[in-house]
């Protein structure tokens, strides 16, 4: 099997954006993970779509590392030619949860970004209509997927 295609992709990304990439590694065959600085997200995304043909968006998610006081927004991308999954990650501080929306690069992230905003409170700057997607209209219970949002039974352990 080998991972030539994955290594070639990482080299291509590293060569173009030395400073923007915090880390890039191959988790396992057909799985790549890159962590990008927040302000360079847009250029890296455009590069991925145009040059490396990552044109299919699987979904957008986020993880709340409450101990390190940071959110990690993850874009799950799939290249329909090489059939490789790439996780484009970026870390943003918990108290200023802002990140540029990549809707102009991939149109399909519309619903996924709305859901991540609703569940984590991360505002995607530039998203045309950040409104409720899953929760009821009259929901004021805060952001459910944050670690400080306690479930009724989680105290019970």
């Amino acid at each position: 099997m080998g991972e030539e295609t994955e290594k070639k992709i990482i080299e291509a990304i590293k060569s173009n954006f030395q400073d923007a990439i915090e880390e890039a590694e191959v988790l396992r065959p057909k799985r790549i993970s890159i962590t990008v600085r927040n302000n360079k997200m847009f250029e890296v995304a455009r590069f991925l779509r145009d040059r490396l043909k990552f044109d299919y968006v699987l979904s957008v998610g986020a993880v709340d590392y409450i101990k390190e006081n940071r959110f990690q927004v993850i874009y799950y991308l799939l290249s329909s030619k090489e059939k490789v999954v790439l996780m484009l990650r970026t870390n943003i501080p918990r108290d200023k949860p802002f990140t540029p929306s990549l809707i102009s690069v991939w149109e399909a992230v519309n619903y996924h970004e709305r859901e991540t905003w609703e569940m984590f409170g991360i505002t995607f700057k530039g998203h045309p209509n950040l409104t409720r997607l899953l929760l009821p209209e009259d929901w004021e219970g805060g952001y459910p997927l944050r670690k400080d949002f306690k479930l009724s039974s989680s105290e019970g352990g």
Partner: protein, 157 residues
Amino acid sequence: MTKKNQTRRLIVWDVFNQVYKKIIGWGRKYSLWPAHFITGCCCPEFMQVAGPRYDMERFGILPLPSIRQADVLVIIGVLTRKMASRVKMLWEQMAEPKYAMAIGACPIDKGPFYDSYSVVRADEIIPVDVYVPGCPPRPEAMIQGFMILQKKVEEGV
């Protein structure tokens, strides 16, 4: 009006009343029309009950598109807060001799989602006549629920 005529008239009225109750009770029993309304994840099992092998239409149960003509509001599966507001609206729109039935463990007491922040119990929303436990309940259990509802309908005229 002698006392004899009065008692005779009362007897006639009482006999007519009972005959009327029996006939209308029999009519309502064999023509329970649930509305086309599925709230949760037990709906494939409800389709099997409507299907050829268990065939709820033997009891005259025919799902109808519009809520105006329905007399049974069947809550099938999990009931979330957003769906509950619609169930409340539907319950008020139904014509008078109306009954409610909750199918599945989730409307009874939130089933496998006992600690979810958005699942509600059915009896917090509408007065439920018959509960059918099970996740999803077997088709025979659902039909037994309908038969219990039929008995209740016939007596409650």
